[in-house]
Amino acid sequence: MDKFKKFCKNNTIWVVLIGFFILAAILSPNFLTWTNIKSVLMTESIIGILATGIMWCILSKGTDLSAGSMVALSSCIIASLTQLESYSMRMYPNLNMPIILAVLITLLVGAVVGAFNGCCVAYLKVPAFIATLGTQLICRAAAQIYTNAYPVPELKPGLKFLGQGMVFGVIPVLVLIFAIMLCISGFMLNFTRFGKNVFAIGGNDQAARVAGINVEFNQMCVFIFSSVCAALGGVLLAARSGVGNSAFGQSYELDAIAAATVGGTSQTGGVAKITGVIAGVLILGIVKNIMLLIGINAYWQNIVKGAIIIFAVVIDMRKNARKN
């Protein structure tokens, strides 16, 4: 019994996740159908990819508010580069670009935006909240100007495969990509110098500097990674919905921050766990799904979501308080 208690204490978040899962299964018979689960996983994968990036920013005592509008911008870019040749109103009538190249270009744009954020935060010492708030506005506007605020439709099937296809007929490609991103992120976090550096910077940036860590460079890398993740999210969202749209990704960054936070990424910096991010994403996804299934209206959904986020942070803070 004691062992079980201890297990629950150390893995609170997984216990909560299982709790919600069982609750959802009881509340709605449709929850446990494969179609529903698949759709939850696919929807949450995109938020999840954003969250893996934003986790790094929060870990290093920053944040990334530009992720949502980065999704919009990159969805427009990838869409404009991969429209069907048979479609008469293409943005670039003579363009015929391999999909892989189009994706790389989009991710590169993400990297540039990230580098801009990183520069502002690391070298110009603009607080991350402000710097990325600015970029948020800039990216959204750039997407609108780029597309005249019209959707960019008729994408090639090759791209759509990324968002709608299945591997072995059962695993959605989207979910696979999310899993790969988690692995990459987890690997960087636990097995590379970069990960240790960022932990140290989040924990005490002055000490990190004195220990010989290039604080600015590492911060820069963190923001680049976060924006590339967001750009990837945009690519996948375009692939899934078959259009690019400058209105995509509204408040995605908040969902991603929420998921990372529920997953135990501490807002005071220096604490993060990749498994926590997975659990955080799934918890918020399931909660959203239950409410949808039992027909609670959208306004109430946000109230519940807000309450969960605050609750998660309260638990986190209490855990810290007890230690001291």
Binding site: F191, K196, R209, G212
Partner: protein
């Protein structure tokens, strides 16, 4: 009325996984200075924190002023006349000195507004009464560590308490300020205040304290009157064995010049500093507070902007812009400001130890080697901890310092700059660190040692440079070491 102002009996304090106090006692009489001694991690700070309500004792009784107490908050302890100078300072850096002193009890103009003028005057009065020379309007972050410490001392005194607890108050003070503090302590004592004094510096205990209680590993070892006890006896009580030698200095051959600093200027506290450092040498830097020793070293290490001057290593000019450059040029640095610039509190001992040496573990990081090295180096200097995965913030102050020493040694620099390397470290471990530094010099490396402890620097250095307000005022060979001469140079007369 009992003869004791404070009696703590059978105090037990457990942390998850660690029993920090295993039933200790402490009897303090008014008008006496009571030393509390023991190795790093013996439980001294923990007991004091239990007394003033930062921690809550697991069991035991505390009798203060003839009634049983168990304070819930520090506020309560302060209101009841117990104040404490903490081992780890935590000033509000962005606010002024006077705001820091009166934090949470500012004089009010009315129910809403703080009376800034009065607050400033009160600070001035307090400082002049204690003979402290610091501008009350200065921002806390512009003070040196030792000035911050003096502010902290003034603050503790300003509560007019019946008991003042001082947890290693002199660890960042220089000789002169220590004398100053001792004057303050004697005045308080003569007014009937009881002082609980925690320190690892033996000479201080014999100079200022009346009684001494010794702990070892969370257990009570004994209580004596200081006048009835010898230094050796005291050390044996603390360490549990006799100690061979405090300063195991091995004479080794002094080689070529490895580092040459020419006309270095940086800010107000480094004015045209020039010196040479040889292989196999331990070069001491002595001086008073604000002498610019730490600033000079920080400038060499790339932590401060150098406005003038050149640095050569092995005859080659170095261009050091940041610690990254310094480390890649084989220069290591142990900071004096453990809390702000040293430890990453929420990471493990392991992560803290290897922080400067991450490059050597490849990608993916070789976790087995990381753990091995941590075990080895932390073992060498005897870091006391249940496991190397423990968060460093849960270690006692001295043990945190040891981890930083391990970090500096693990990085294996050719030139090691240590700034107050044994601050807050117990006698046994101190000797261990001294012998490690000697060993480094013996390998043909070079060590620069800043220390405000006269016996330490005189015992360890081959040569000594004395600074005063940013200038080099004297240089002494080992044969010429003389406390009075050093003080003369240090005061710039």
């Amino acid at each position: 009325m009992s003869e004791y102002i404070l009696q703590m009996k059978e105090i037990v304090k457990e942390f998850p996984g660690v029993k920090a106090l295993k039933g200790v006692k402490l009897d303090v009489r008014p008008g006496r200075v009571h030393a509390l001694m023991g190795e790093n991690g013996a439980g001294k700070s923990t007991l004091m924190k239990c007394l003033i309500g930062i921690y809550h004792k697991t069991s035991g009784t505390i009798i203060y002023d003839d009634r049983e107490i168990d304070f819930e908050t520090t506020q309560e302890a302060l209101n009841n006349g117990i104040s404490m100078i903490h081992q780890e300072l935590s000033p509000v850096l962005e606010r002024s000195v006077s705001e820091n002193v009166w934090l949470g009890r500012q004089p009010m103009l009315n129910f809403l507004m703080v009376d800034h003028k009065k607050m400033r005057q009160m600070t001035l009065d307090l400082f002049s009464q204690l003979d402290v020379d610091i501008d009350p309007d200065e921002l806390m972050k512009n003070l040196t560590v030792s000035q911050m410490q003096m502010v902290e001392i003034a603050k503790a005194v300003s509560y007019n308490s019946k008991i003042v607890i001082m947890d290693e108050p002199t660890s960042s003070l220089t000789e002169r300020e220590v004398g100053h503090l001792f004057r303050i302590i004697r005045e308080l004592r003569d007014k009937g205040v009881a002082i609980i004094y925690i320190s690892h510096k033996m000479d201080e205990i014999f100079e200022i304290c009346d009684d001494v209680t010794v702990f070892r590993d969370g257990a009570w070892v004994g209580q004596e009157e200081v006048k009835n006890i010898t230094m050796d006896k005291l050390i044996t009580m603390m360490v549990g064995r006799e100690l061979d030698e405090m300063f195991p200095k091995t004479e080794c051959e002094i080689g070529d010049v490895i580092l040459k600093v020419e006309d270095l200027c940086a800010g107000k506290l480094v004015k045209h500093v020039s010196f040479e450092l040889h292989r196999g040498e331990i070069l001491g830097f002595a001086g008073l507070v604000g002498a610019g020793r730490s600033e000079t070293m920080e400038a060499i290490f790339g932590l401060r902007t150098v406005t003038n001057g050149k640095i050569y290593k092995n005859g080659k000019e170095l261009n050091i812009k940041s610690p990254v450059d310094a480390i890649s040029n084989g220069i290591g640095f142990l900071t004096e400001d453990r809390r702000a610039k040293g430890i990453v509190p929420i990471r493990s001992i392991c992560d803290n130890t290897i922080l400067s040496s991450l490059k050597t573990y490849g990608t993916p990081l070789n976790h087995r080697k990381i753990r091995q090295d941590t075990q080895e180096y932390c073992g060498k200097i005897n870091v006391k901890t249940p496991s190397i995965d423990e968060l460093i913030q849960n270690l006692s102050g001295g043990n945190q310092q040891k981890v930083l020493v391990a970090r500096a040694l693990l990085n294996d620099p050719e030139i090691l700059i240590v700034d107050e390397p044994t601050r807050g470290i117990d006698v046994g471990a101190k000797a261990e660190i001294h012998s490690l530094l000697s060993e480094l010099a013996g390998q043909g490396k070079a060590v620069i040692m800043i220390s405000s402890e006269m016996p330490e620097i005189m015992g360890m250095a081959d040569r000594m440079i004395v600074m005063h307000e940013g200038d080099v005022t004297g240089e002494l060979k080992r044969e010429e070491f003389d406390q009075e001469l050093i003080m003369k140079y240090a005061t710039g007369v």
